[in-house]
């Protein structure tokens, strides 16, 4: 104890001394000066002459410099001092060879920057906890059932296959009972994304997102408001005064972050809410990572906000999400079992005929990160990105290793001298590692600066939804720790090996080595060659990947659309948000379309319930009326479904003219097709042949299995095949139905213009406003932009791979160049002899180029092997291109050969210019 105290005290004193060491140096000099002066004086007093006295004083004192040195050593932590010394020395050396230094730092910065960018995305998407109290106590609940649905309608996310269904949506009844009956084991709370709503402040409406929450939501999460108060239990009743909590972003956007916002009125759809508080800044809800909510309202108000969406209290309508916080002493299994019993009970009550095996069972998952399905979607592309950036980082490190190795050779003599003078090898290795650390630190710093920018550039590649994903990545401790760890690994990889190698040379050899191919020389060259070959291998993989992706995007862009996307402007409207009934919605659409059609510069205008090529579609089952109904539970069901899928698009009149799709038989949908008349459909050739095996189908009828729309359609026309939801799915069997017979929800309006479609957007906005000032247009794009956006992920991956492939190839070329240049320098003597003996320049040049080609061949062969092994990862991203496409691999190989030949030519040229006389004299 006492010893520990002593050593702590000593350490503390040393730190103080070290910090003040400049002062101490001066003090010591003064002290020594005084000593010498006093001694001189004493000697003079004893009768010595002045000059002799000064010399004698010095003699008696001893070596003042050595003594100062000894004292100074005592002050410092020797390790800190040597570290500082190493860093200074290293920095000086690095400054002396700026090309190598800059090349190394840039290589590392690229590798580390991209790694950090991908990591910060992964961090936000996969790792980050909700900013709530004790997030690890939270659970997310979902259920699993057999193929038979335990509800009549569901909104939210559901997934599964032919035998099981899973979803996170529950009925409000299940939520209510769970809150009451499971209280002793888990505090359950509910919430639901209420979708797009209109948010009115001071009479100005904008579209936004609302989340409904149960009364205990904020208190169970343990959140503290930024302003005002959060919602409480008493707000969550239909008869309570409507209260809303807004998010920081809405507060800023609509209320200028003013504290006066509290108490103001926010009109959500048609219901006026009082703003009672602002949620904490970092809190964006407990939903999916891509959820962005603007306002939290009590769940009890769902019905009033969406009067047309049925009764939220209906136990057969499942729409609310459930999470819970475990009570102390409880465990997830206890909570799960309790909720499982409650859910089964509510389903039994609501659907008494459900057989026991079909009752859904509850699953409880860790909820600290909120709902997670979107994250799962992003896992694959993230993995792909991680692999690509890891390759670049490896190539970068290999490059730095090679540069350091080459410099190590250049410094062989210096290092040998230092070893000969008694520097321990450990000390020199540490010196070289310090240099590596300086490089890594610079590279990491630059990389960190770029990481955020890279992350936001990569984000669109992860998410294919219709709206942009907003994720804010920030410079946090985890990221810095990750980068530091990465940099350390890099240092070990690129600096330790060269350091060990460079100090490995025996003394005598190092001093004597002129490098005439001694055994160690060979070994070191072997290491360099291995590094270069692995660089070329990895570059080959990236180049081949990039080419495959680029070809795939080209293929996608060359897909025969079957319609004409040029000069078409699209935008969406949702009049239902203003609380309009169906007839009024249809009326609004009709009047807007009428005015659009007569506007100057417009050739035609129409609408559809989905935007074409937006990766979303309404896919249902369609069958002939004479085909038997196959029960959902039947084993034949999956096969039946697969062969009877139909893509349904609800449209208005003039759709085919506007989009340039040809009607070959019969007629198009027009204004005669309304609620009162027979439901009609125009089918494309693909659907006509799928159903009836003939094109002659006008007048025939078919049935559909769908939760919405009429069950029976009459075919009124046949059109040519056109792309509907995605470029990857050309010629899907498609039925075009009249939207008036189908329900008028949010719609995409399509306007074919005579000139630039984008230039028409302001006019369109005016027309919409003139018909109804409460309507807002959203997702305004030309059809061509829409198509480009639908393949943005593929394009981004292709661009990313192409860029990084280029970077990797450039780095490898530099590595190869450095290796060959070194070899030429090493063999100058040999080349001189060869030339003196009559070898011509061509032969010498070929000798070097042959080396580079040999390395390239090895790299290409390994590269093909590695690409072949990794093709499965790529397959999902490719369209109409085989991952083992021979032409692509051949082209990549050709690119590698050309680049390596160029990298090899310069040293070869230099070798061929060796003057035998000078070379031999240098020996």
């Amino acid at each position: 104890m006492d010893r520990l105290g002593d050593s702590l005290r000593t350490t503390f004193r040393r730190i103080l001394l070290w910090l003040r060491r400049g002062r101490l140096d001066d003090d010591l000099r003064d002290e020594v000066g005084l000593h010498l002066e006093l001694r001189r004086q004493a000697l003079i007093d004893a009768g010595m002459d002045a000059q002799e006295a000064a010399a004698q004083a010095h003699r008696m004192f001893g070596n003042a410099t050595a003594i100062r040195e000894e004292t100074r050593e005592m002050w410092g932590f020797p390790s800190i001092d040597t570290l500082v010394q190493d860093v200074r020395y290293g920095a000086r050396l690095l400054r002396r060879s700026p090309t190598v230094t800059i090349a190394s730092i840039v290589s590392l910065a690229i590798g580390i920057g991209f790694s950090a960018g991908v990591f910060s995305l992964a961090d936000v998407i996969l790792l980050q906890y909700l900013p709530v109290q004790a997030p690890h106590e939270l659970l997310v609940f979902q259920w699993r059932s057999g193929p038979r649905y335990p509800f009549s309608s569901l909104s939210g996310t559901s997934w599964g296959d032919d035998t099981t269904q899973r979803s996170t949506s529950f009925s409000s009844e299940a939520l209510h009972r769970s809150r009451l009956q499971a209280r002793d084991v888990v505090e359950v709370f509910g919430f639901a994304g209420l979708d797009r709503v209109s948010l009115g402040v001071d009479g100005i409406a904008e579209l936004g997102e609302a989340t409904g929450v149960s009364g205990n939501y904020f208190s169970v999460l343990g959140l503290v408001p930024a302003q005002g108060r959060l919602l409480v239990e008493s707000d969550d009743r239909a008869e309570a005064p409507p209260a809303a909590v807004i998010t920081e972003s809405l507060w800023k956007r609509r209320f200028n972050s003013s504290p006066d916002a509290i108490g103001r009125t926010l009109v959500v759809n048609a219901t006026p809410f009082t703003v009672v508080g602002v949620a904490p800044p970092s809190f964006r809800g407990t939903g999916q990572v891509d959820d962005s909510t603007d306002v939290f309202v009590p769940l009890a108000y769902k019905r009033q906000i969406f009067p047309d969406r049925g009764n939220p209290a209906d136990p057969n309508d499942w729409w609310v999400l459930m999470m819970g916080r475990l009570k102390a002493g409880s465990n997830p299994e206890l909570a799960r079992a309790r909720l499982d019993a409650i859910l089964k009970q509510t389903v039994r009550a609501a659907r008494p005929d459900t057989p026991d095996p079909d009752l859904p069972s509850v699953e409880a998952l860790p909820g600290g990160r909120g709902q997670a399905q979107v994250r799962d979607h992003m896992r694959e592309p993230l993995k792909m990105m991680s692999i690509v950036v890891a390759i670049v980082l490896l190539v970068g490190c290999a490059n730095v290793a090679n540069l350091l190795l080459a410099r190590g050779r250049a410094r062989a003599r210096e290092l040998s001298v230092r070893i000969a003078l008694g520097a321990p090898r450990r000390r020199i290795v540490r010196q070289l590692l310090t240099e590596g650390m300086i490089l890594a630190a610079c590279g990491s710093g630059l990389g960190l600066l770029g990481a955020r920018w890279i992350a936001s550039a990569l984000l669109p590649a992860l998410h294919t939804g219709p709206d942009a994903l907003t994720i804010t990545t920030s410079l946090n401790l985890r990221l810095v720790a990750f980068v530091a760890a990465l940099a350390s690994v890099c240092v070990v990889f690129f600096a330790l090996v060269p350091a060990l190698r460079s100090t490995d040379a025996s003394l005598v050899q190092g001093l004597h080595e002129a490098g005439r191919g001694s055994a160690t020389g060979h070994r070191r060259r072997g290491l360099s060659a291995t590094l270069v070959i692995s660089q070329i291998t990895l570059s080959m993989v990236l180049v081949a990947t990039a080419l495959l992706l680029v070809r795939s995007v080209r293929q996608l862009q060359q897909v025969d659309l079957g319609f004409d996307p040029s000069r078409v402007l699209t935008f969406k409207l949702d009049p239902g948000l203003n609380g309009y009934k169906e007839e009024r919605v249809v009326d609004v659409y009709s009047r807007i379309l009428e005015r659009l059609r007569t506007a100057p510069g417009v050739e035609q205008a129409t609408l559809s319930n989905q935007t074409l090529v937006s990766n979303s579609a309404n896919v249902i089952v369609a069958a002939r009326t004479d085909e038997p109904v196959v029960d959902r539970a039947s084993v034949d069901r999956p096969a039946f479904t697969d062969s009877h899928l139909a893509w349904r698009l609800a449209i208005d009149s003039h759709f085919f003219e506007t989009m340039g799709i040809r009607i070959d038989r019969g007629r198009a949908v027009d204004d005669r097709d309304n609620r009162a008349s027979q439901p009609v459909a125009v089918v494309n050739y693909a659907l006509a042949r799928q159903l009836f095996n003939t094109d002659d189908v006008v007048g025939r009828r078919f049935r559909t299995e769908s939760r919405s729309g009429p069950p029976l359609y009459e075919i009124i026309g046949v059109c040519t095949d056109a792309v509907y939801s995605s470029l990857r799915e050309a010629k899907t069997p498609t039925m075009y139905v009249a939207y008036r017979q189908h329900g008028a929800g949010p719609m995409t309006l399509e306007v074919r213009t005579a000139g630039d479609p984008a230039a028409f957007a302001p006019t369109a906005r005016e027309i919409v406003r003139s018909v109804d000032p409460n309507l807002s247009m959203y997702r305004v794009r030309t059809q061509e932009q829409q198509i480009a956006a639908s393949v943005s992920r593929e394009r981004l991956f292709a661009t990313l791979a192409a860029w990084l492939g280029g970077v990797a190839l450039t780095l490898s070329a530099i590595g190869l160049y450095a290796l060959l240049a070194y070899m030429v320098a090493l063999r100058t003597g040999e080349i001189g002899i060869r030339m003196a003996l009559g070898a011509d320049r061509g032969a010498v040049r070929w000798m070097i180029v042959r080396q580079s080609l040999l390395v390239a061949v090895c790299g290409v062969v390994f590269g093909i092997a590695v690409s072949a092994a990794g093709t499965d990862l790529l397959r999902a991203l490719l369209f109409n291109v085989e991952p083992r496409d021979v032409a692509t691999l051949a082209l990549s190989a050709a690119i590698i050969f050309v680049v390596t030949a160029i990298a090899g030519y310069i040293p070869a040229q230099r070798a061929s210019r060796v003057d035998p006389i000078i070379a031999l004299r240098a020996e």
């Binding site: 000593t10 005084l34 008696m60 003594i67």
Partner: protein, 113 residues
């Protein structure tokens, strides 16, 4: 000069610290004063290489056995004065007794029985 050198006695290793502590046990002194005191007290037999005094002073200070502060010498120059700390005094006691035992033992071996 050469003659005088022979009369000088090298210090036993490890005894310099003890001599410094002993010297400071009487008075607060600066470096030159300590060196001079040791020289005079030993009738100029013990010859400290004066410079080696300073690393020793630093070491003792780091160990917390002595402390120092700046003052002015008689001729009004900036001088650092060293004094014994309580730990130093304790250390001096221990060194003195163990040194005494050592000398005693050596004397007994050296004196013919």
């Amino acid at each position: 000069m050469g003659k005088k050198k022979h009369a000088r006695q090298e210090l036993l290793p490890g005894t310099l610290d003890m001599l410094i502590l002993k010297t400071l046990s009487r008075d607060v002194m600066h470096g030159y004063g300590i060196a001079e005191h040791i020289r005079q007290m030993s009738d100029e037999v013990l010859q400290v290489e004066e410079g080696s005094l300073y690393p020793a002073l630093q070491r003792l200070q780091l160990q917390g056995l002595i402390a120092s502060e700046w003052g002015h010498s008689i001729n009004n120059r900036r001088a650092r004065y060293y004094r014994l700390t309580r730990a130093g005094r304790r250390q001096l006691g221990e060194s003195e007794s163990s040194f005494a035992r050592l000398i005693d033992a050596i004397t007994r071996v050296m004196r013919p029985a």
